[in-house]
Point group: C2
Chain length 142, copies 2
DNA sequence: GGCAATTATATTGTACACAATTTAATAACG
DNA sequence: CGTTATTAAATTGTGTACAATATAATTGCC
């Protein structure tokens, strides 16, 4: 096996799939006027009412260099609010506005659409998910 | 199952793994003074002597908007040459310089290092590879 | 041959991603 | 209590990604 062939590189395939999947999200997200990384922020905030940039970053594996401008763009669209914590002025607390909360209804169909384009049954999906989890954990350890 | 949980989103996991893997490549690629996308270009050019930007883009799923500046940066490092095709002046042919070719020796250990950090046996690796192939093909169809 | 499509790259503009540094607030400790 | 260390965001700079458009060369067709 020639290890230099793209064909044999799992990382390249992950990279390519990640970008292809994002391109499948794009037409769906265009309706909500958000990007894929912004959608990931929404996913977190639809479940947790308010959290700091640090906590958000831990869940998304992103740092303030990425999140600060991204959250500012979302704030300027009126989707969320950014406010310094009153307990600790270093922390910036992020929470959705009503408008942001309401977007959840419109987004209801998105996960289904994506699963459809992956064209897998539940067994395959769950299996792949647990494989990816294993990899994620391994990579995070180091 | 709450389909809005990050935990349940395969796309997010792919996205996260892709970025984590790239961060594992970084210290290895720093020695060669190239980035991960530039490394992908090298992988193709170590196998194929010369090809056009279009052909390169087909293999990497990238367009000229990404490749043109990326290849210019690589050219300015002396890794590769960009030259218009003599047969068809629209095409730009890319090929490695001797310096770029020689980098292959130094890169020899990189795939092994990455496979090591994935900590999988050959069966697991091949299995995951074929799963990813299936997904890649499905996503490409549409 | 001449002109309208098509094709290949380049350019422009926006949005991540991330390393490195800076700033401001809080914690820790003698 | 004051100084040092730590922490959380913000900023700066570089490098992808990608949509949309522009430019230039080639092809197709009458």
């Amino acid at each position: 096996m020639n290890k230099f062939l793209l064909e044999n590189q799992i990382c390249f395939k992950m990279h390519a799939i990640s970008r292809l999947l994002t391109s499948h999200y794009r037409p769906l997200l265009d309706k909500l006027d958000i990007t894929y990384p912004q959608y990931l922020v929404m996913l977190v905030l639809w479940e947790e009412e308010a959290l700091s940039v640090k906590e958000l970053g831990e869940q998304l594996y992103l740092d303030s260099g990425t999140l600060t401008p991204l959250l500012k763009r979302m704030e300027s669209k009126g989707i969320l609010e950014r406010k310094r914590s009153e307990v600790d002025e270093r922390s910036l607390i992020v929470r959705l506005t009503d408008s942001g909360m309401n977007m959840k209804v419109e987004a209801e169909c998105i996960p289904d659409e994506i699963v459809k384009s992956l064209d897998m049954n539940k067994e395959e999906y769950d299996f792949l998910k647990s494989r990816l989890n294993e990899i994620l954990n391994k990579l995070n350890q180091k």
